[in-house]
Symmetry: C2
Subunit: 461 residues, 2 copies
């Protein structure tokens, strides 16, 4: 785009959102050029809308100029979904109001720019909470979590974002505002478009308001275990045994030795550095007994039952920090996010270690055992082309293995630019060829001119 045209556009953005909410300087834009996995791309301009009406006007400008648009929350995406070259980027964090906490109908009406942590702080005052808790909850926004269909640690019990969104307000790529769904306990009026928006990764419209289900603060008393094992088969067996015993844990995480070592270093902690570590919350009483027996039967090295909430919280915080701790071990990281049938988790985890040893690289792995959701983190040297290529080979092997085992290449991080090829491979392998065709057509219906986060995800698959 010509300089002059661009300047005119900036001027009009200033008229819409105010000078202080339009960022054009290279130094200001710098903050918006990366996501949390270091995918990089530089937007043309960043604007912080303060209202839905401003979003409508900005989309109008995008239509006029043909410039692509990307709404963004905290940019904590791990797949390149939240960066876009030459885009008008909307930093939605200027719209972060809790509009209404409805303690009778059990929902919260909220703007998209509030972080999940801040939302939960406000809900706590009314005795409620919003369960999905991505590790990035301390910064990630409601809008971003909806667009990514995010999961988290509590999701084994409570499900992911898709289970919690009841209605949305959206500015469509044609500049028109629409509501999708109804803020009601039940609604069958028309096809379900709410769920199309959940996990749409900024490709179908800009979310300007959301009605989310909430629940009373957990009243069940739970206890937290930290249990170590010498091998992965045993942890697989634990998972199978707990599920078969009909225990639905409130938390069910695992970490490998590399993760524990990285955490011990980062946090100056002294967790036992075993091959496999499980963190499991179950109900106080009978379930604690039963779980202890299962751990023992499966050959646990050490079973620690957190003595109080403080100790339990230490475990949780450590698990939440795992990605950042591991990330600091190498200049390059490739985070995986595959999902397996739960009964094949042990088998896959063993495969990850085989791949790491075959290529002579490190692949620390953690994840949500209760969901079958695994995060191998492939480490490499960013400045070394050969190292990058090797990491990529390992990445491909892991994705293909997951697909072959009936799994998915993404459970909660989404596709972005990272996994377009494997989205296609997965759908083609699992008889979803027509599904992919329909998805592409749906993208065209919502966004015929390809303005919203173009060149990624479904469109690029």
């Amino acid at each position: 785009m010509q300089k002059r045209v661009e300047e005119q556009l900036f001027q009009r953005l200033v008229e819409i959102s105010g000078k202080e909410n339009v960022i054009t300087s290279a130094s200001g834009i710098e903050d918006y050029t990366r996501d949390m996995a270091d995918y990089e791309a530089t937007p043309a301009v960043v604007v912080r809308p303060r209202s839905e009406q401003e979003v409508v006007e900005i989309i109008g400008l995008a239509i006029e100029s043909g410039m692509p648009v990307l709404p963004r929350g905290a940019g904590s995406s791990l797949t390149g979904a939240a960066v876009l070259k030459g885009a008008i980027m909307l930093d939605m964090r200027g719209m972060s109001r809790v509009v209404k906490v409805d303690t009778v109908n059990w929902y919260v009406q909220v703007q998209p720019g509030i972080s999940l942590e801040d939302l939960n702080r406000e809900l706590k005052a009314s005795g409620f909470f919003f369960p999905p808790d991505p590790a990035s909850s301390y910064i990630c926004t409601v809008g971003g979590a909806i667009a990514e269909g995010s999961g988290g640690l509590r999701c084994v019990r409570y499900g992911t974002m898709k289970d919690w969104v009841v209605a949305l307000r959206v500015v469509l790529p044609n500049g028109k505002v629409t509501r999708l769904g109804e803020p009601l306990a039940k609604n069958r009026a028309g096809y379900d478009l709410v769920h199309l928006m959940v996990g749409s990764e900024g490709t179908l419209g800009v979310i300007t308001e959301a009605w989310l289900k909430i629940v009373p603060l957990q009243s069940v008393r739970t206890r937290r275990f930290l249990v170590t094992f010498n091998d992965w088969e045993s942890t697989g067996e634990v998972i199978r045994r707990l599920r078969s015993s009909k225990i639905l844990p409130y938390l069910f995480e695992f970490l490998d030795r590399d993760n524990i070592q990285a955490l011990n270093e980062k946090l100056e902690a002294s967790f036992e550095e075993a091959e496999a570590t499980l963190m499991v919350d179950v109900e106080e009483g009978e379930e604690v007994q039963l779980a202890t027996e299962i751990f023992r039967d499966c050959g646990a090295r050490r079973i620690i039952l957190a003595k109080d909430e403080e100790e339990a919280e230490t475990f949780y915080q450590a698990r939440s920090m795992a990605y950042l701790a591991v990330k600091s071990l190498a200049s390059g990281v490739q985070v995986e996010d595959v999902v397996l049938p739960i009964d094949r988790l042990g088998e896959f985890l063993k495969f990850v270690k085989e791949v790491a040893s075959k290529y002579g690289i490190k692949i620390p792995v953690n994840g949500h055992a209760g969901d079958g959701n695994v995060h191998p983190t492939i480490l490499y040297d960013k400045s070394d082309e050969k190292s990058r290529a090797t990491a990529n080979l390992a990445y491909e092997e892991l994705c293909r293995k997951a697909i072959a085992m009936g799994g998915s290449v993404t459970g909660e991080h989404g596709v972005g630019v990272q996994k377009t090829r494997f989205l296609r491979e997965q759908l083609y392998s699992h008889e979803g060829e027509e599904a992919l065709r329909l998805m592409k057509e749906i993208k065209k219906i919502f966004d015929p001119d390809g303005l919203m986060n173009p060149g990624k995800y479904v469109e690029a698959a």
Copy 2:
């Protein structure tokens, strides 16, 4: 269609599915000309496919002949969704196998033609159950319940069908088979097409297999209350108080005097005939105490706590029979299915009674209080045109009031032919004009030639 062409078609259907599975005789077809609310239309032919491959071939014939197609389960729809004039009707009950009960991953893989009751019977053997329980569970099929996005009595606790379907196999209107979603605890690979199929009312494709979440048989001990009140405001207050006290009942139903009278007659029972009756399940212990206090505070006439499971079951069976009992009171019935914000339920129930008295008609009302889902049943004389017209006026007033109160015209019965106009009114009133446009375009993507259940629902709105 010319007789000869039709006969050729029948012949080819016989070649596909066998003579015993193709119904062309008027007497045989008679069974397929009505739904449970007596919407009537006569299909051209009924075929009972025994496999997905047969469905593919039948859809191929429909494409060739241009004849419309309607998959049907038990025909327990209440909105005209399950009858279609001149259609090739697929009676899916020939495909009713439970393919796999996975007690580790907690899902069941099942063909669409099995009834929910039979499904639950099979699951019980493994110690699991499938929660959604429409009143028609004893006959309604998995495929029908998915297509209708059905709810039920337990849904206040467990949600409706949309919360339980993880993946589907579908024969699309172009004759191609696709899988939608993955039978995994989490999956973010592409837009969510599974939820488009849930509640699609047979307009987007034929469901040939489903993966449904299941859960262990309820281990929490609950108790069942039957509580009567002199007015509707009190019941509204009970609902508000229970929700505000963070009690999430396992069942939360209500019936009016007309329903109780009809049930007493039909079942030769002697339930107290009060203005309003609530049936409520809560956890044994503290919740029973707390609920009792709330009932008392709100001016309950009589509080019965079922003494054992047998008595509790009697209440449940009575509630399940309510529609049939009321239906037998008049030659014509129009069942409503509106949803209100829960805190405005009492207000709406009072309005229903005002409308009934204004038109001098009977509108028995029951529903799922915990969901804000109300079923006024407008009674009229089918043979009297004036009576039909009056019923229609009452129906319109109820729908418009629900829309004006921020409610929905359908919570679990869907739209069919009954509510196309009000689907439009609702979406237009609730800023969903663009949503309706997008729904219509989605229908065209899936079914460009309009073969599947045409002239209804979204397309007709």
